[in-house]
Each structure stands twice: as structure tokens, then as C-alpha cells.
């Protein structure tokens, strides 16, 4: 019994110590960003570089663009990096975000089952491709999560006149990686950013069916939360990181990021 008590007390002490040591004393900022930049490995890669020039620890929360902007609006993070130009413009106009900077872009592509039963690869434009999928009532996995990719996809359907309501249209409600895996398992089509596609394609039973339409361009912006609304925000360290992203060093790092020799993001800061 004595031994047990001693053991119990020790484990309590150790737990408390582990817990206390977990509370960081160093300077840190919180970045809410999209699953596409995180799941592709870009963020981890950039933060390794940033750690060499700064002591600020960047804590990454990866969610859809809609949720990331919401976190910025509520002041739960210090800066956001997202890819939904119209939502970002609203975010700045309404005074939630400041100092928006273009960081980089990649593009969206349509992927689908290898047999491509809807013959999307024969389409000239992305809207043609989508209407072929809808007309043949093939399965299409939509993110359905208010992410930048989802917003973009809905915009493209809007170009066709109406939101999709064919039986094959399914909303996963999950991140890009999960949605691609679902499409792969179900033999469905999906729209994805090229970064996540390149990072995952070896593990998927899917093939690229359409790319290159200028409407598929996918620009990323970084924005700080408005310190007038949220005085607690670590705005100086957040600005330092944002400035680094658009500096020549940051831009070079973005341009050098490759998976299997392929460039995922094109730096685009002015």
C-alpha cells in the first residue's frame, strides 16, 4: 500500500511537471491557415526556415478558409493566410484584417477516376468539365466546408447558372486530403488545389483530368488581425512573420518547395 501511494504521488508530481513545462515562455504567434498549405507540407518547410532567423514560434492551426477568417475576426489568432479573394476583401473592408499581402499562388485542378467515364479530359474549360460531370450524373466530392476550395468550386458552378443538384454531387464536409481519399475510394471526381494533389497523388486511385483554365488560379494572401479590435494580439511578431513571407528570403523558400521535383506554389509578392 505504501509503495502504491508513493508511486501515485510520484506520478502526480511528474504529470504536473510535464504540464507546467508545456507552457511556453518564448514569444509565439498563432497563424490560422488552410488545410491546403498545411497538408501539402509547405508550412512545416517554411517554419523550419523561419526558425533560423527568428525566435518567434509560429503555432499553426489548419482549418478551412471560412473558419480561419472567423478565428481572425474573433481575435483567436494573430494572423491568417487564406485563399478566397472575395471573402478576404470583405474581411479587410469590415475592419477585421489589415495589411493584406499576396504571398503566392498555385492553381486548382480537376481530378477523377482513371477511366474518366464523364470524359472531362476532353473538355476545353473548367465549366465545360463540370457540366459534363453533372450531365452524366457521375459522383463529385465537394468539400462542403466553406473553405477557399469550396468557395471557388461554388463560384464555378454559379457560372453554369445554378448550384449543382444532381444525385452524384456529394459534400464531404472535410479537409482536402480527406476529400481526395473519399473521391479515390468512391471513384468520384473532385476539385483540388494542385499542392495537395501533388502531395497525395501517389496514394490515390485518381488521375488529373483538367487543368490550365485561368479561372482555376488560386492566390493566397496573408493578413494580420486588426489590433484596434484586438489589442491583445501579438501584432509585432505577427507582422514580422508576414513581412518575412513576402521578403525575398521567404519568397525564395516558397519557390524552392518541391514534392517529387514538382513546384507546388509560385511566389507572387510584389
Amino acid at each position: 500500500m505504501k509503495h502504491l501511494q508513493l508511486l501515485l504521488m510520484r506520478s502526480v508530481l511528474v504529470t504536473v511537471l510535464i504540464f507546467v513545462s508545456g507552457i511556453a515562455l518564448a514569444d509565439s504567434i498563432r497563424l490560422a491557415t488552410t488545410t491546403s498549405t498545411y497538408n501539402s507540407g509547405l508550412l512545416d518547410y517554411l517554419l523550419n526556415y523561419y526558425a533560423q532567423v527568428s525566435d518567434t514560434e509560429v503555432q499553426v492551426i489548419s482549418v478551412g478558409t471560412g473558419k480561419a477568417l472567423r478565428m481572425g475576426e474573433n481575435g483567436d489568432v494573430d494572423l491568417v493566410m487564406t485563399h478566397a479573394p472575395s471573402a478576404e476583401a470583405r474581411f479587410v473592408d469590415q475592419g477585421f484584417g489589415i495589411e493584406a499581402h499576396r504571398v503566392m499562388y498555385n492553381d486548382f485542378v480537376l481530378v477523377g477516376p482513371k477511366e474518366d467515364a464523364a470524359n472531362v479530359s476532353g473538355a476545353q474549360t473548367v465549366t465545360d468539365g463540370l457540366s459534363l460531370i453533372a450531365a452524366s450524373n457521375k459522383r463529385f466530392i465537394s468539400r462542403g466546408d466553406d473553405s477557399g476550395t469550396h468557395k471557388k468550386e461554388l463560384q464555378l458552378w454559379q457560372h453554369l447558372g445554378a448550384l449543382p443538384n444532381f444525385d452524384g454531387y456529394l459534400e464531404s464536409g472535410r479537409g482536402m486530403g480527406h476529400s481526395l481519399q473519399m473521391a479515390s475510394e468512391m471513384g468520384a471526381y473532385a476539385m483540388t488545389d494542385r499542392g495537395t494533389w501533388l502531395a497525395l497523388k501517389d496514394k490515390l486511385e485518381l488521375t488529373l483530368v483538367l487543368e490550365g483554365d485561368p479561372r482555376l488560379l488560386n492566390p493566397y494572401q496573408v493578413m494580420l488581425v486588426n489590433p484596434k479590435r484586438h489589442s491583445h494580439a501579438n501584432i509585432n511578431s505577427a507582422r514580422e512573420f508576414a513581412q518575412w513571407l513576402v521578403s525575398s528570403a521567404g519568397q525564395e523558400a516558397i519557390g524552392n518547395f518541391r514534392i517529387n521535383g514538382e513546384v507546388l506554389f509560385v511566389p507572387s509578392a510584389k
Binding site: 504540464f19 498563432r30 497538408n39 483567436d76 481519399q181 496514394k203
Partner: protein
Amino acid sequence: MNDLWTTCSTAIAQLLSGDPQLWGIVGVSFSVSASALLIALLPALSTGFMLAYFRFPGRWAAISVLNSLLAVPTVVVGLVLYMLLSRAGPLGDLNLLFTRPAMIIGQILLCFPLLVAMSLSAFQAADHRVLETAKTLGANPWQAFVTLLFEVRFALLAAVVTAFGRIIAEVGSAMMVGGNILHHTRNITTAIALETGKGEFVQGVALGIVLLVLALTLNVSLGWMQSHSRVLRHGT
């Protein structure tokens, strides 16, 4: 797609190689869940004791509420806590969202009703004569409580093991209020969710193995202690 066997064996190899990132994630899970359990334990046991031994108006209502709380999904606890702790919420000034303490609070809320319900039935099942004997021998209420705790220790241990199992395996609340931040709030379950999203099943399986081994160890040692004590009792 890797086949199941290669994935599992690579996962075991990764665990055995002592991969620091992997074990760091395991450490977050343990420190968060152990802290939550330790904080919730005594208040929950006292509540269970009071509900078992005192009659007061509203007692049945309290027990019914506790029992229904057992069925609350972890994401709902996470969502409510998220709204409370957000900067836009009433407790925003505490600056707790996306930290380990937030995860701990969520897990306390999750394990408290379970501990109360299980300790309540343990106390109810205990022989009332134990308490009466203790009182006749001049024990004050606190001493009586401790005597009873010792009497039903195995049922309580089972409650602790079950509660720990529930909170270390939950993902909904940890993901919402923790935010899955590497080195800070990424625990076993949120890491599994993330890694499978990246198509990295190996790390997901490795972390799943840790959870399984843990559950097995806890339950086997609980069973061993219970049978061991029975042998002792019959022996004397």
C-alpha cells in the same frame, strides 16, 4: 495504397525507434488526460458519495441530469467550450483557447459525470454497515468517507480506468478547443485525424497502437488487482 501488414509493421518500427515527434504527441495526450482526471477525481468522488448517502430534494433530478450528461457527444462539449473561451465569448479574456488548459477543462467536463455515476453506484453497492460501524467506533464524517473509499476501492479504480479511457480516446473536444497545434495541443487522436487526412496512415496506426496497448495494460492490471485481492481475502 500500402497493404495493411506493411503499414502496421512500419508503424511498430517507428514506435520502437523512439521517434521524438511521435512520443511527444503521446506525451501531450497523457499529460492532458492525467491532469483532467486528477483535477476531477476528488470533487467527483465526493459528489458521488453525497448523492449515495444523503437524501435531499432534487437528488433524483441531479442523478438524472448526470446520467444524461454521460451521453453528451464530445464535439458538443468542445463547441460549447469553444464559444465560451473564444475572444468573442464571455471567458475570452482568460486567453485559454488553443491551449492545453482548454483541453484539460474539456476533458474534466467529459469525465466528471462518468466518475460521479460510477462512484455513486459503487457507494450504493457498498455495505451500509461499514459506515455505521465506523461511526460507532467514533469516526468523524471524513474518516468514515475514507473508510468507505477503501472498502469500494476496486469499483472506484474501475471508474478511474473507464474515465481515463474515455478522455484519452476522445477527439471532438480536443480538436476544437486545442486546435491541433504541433508540440502544444496535438495529441494522439487529433494527430491521427490529421495524418490520415495527409494520407499518412503509418503514423495514425502507430498512435492507435499506443492507445490500444494503454487500454489493454490498464484493464489487465485492474483485473489482476481485483483477482489478487480476492485471493488474499479468501486466504485469511
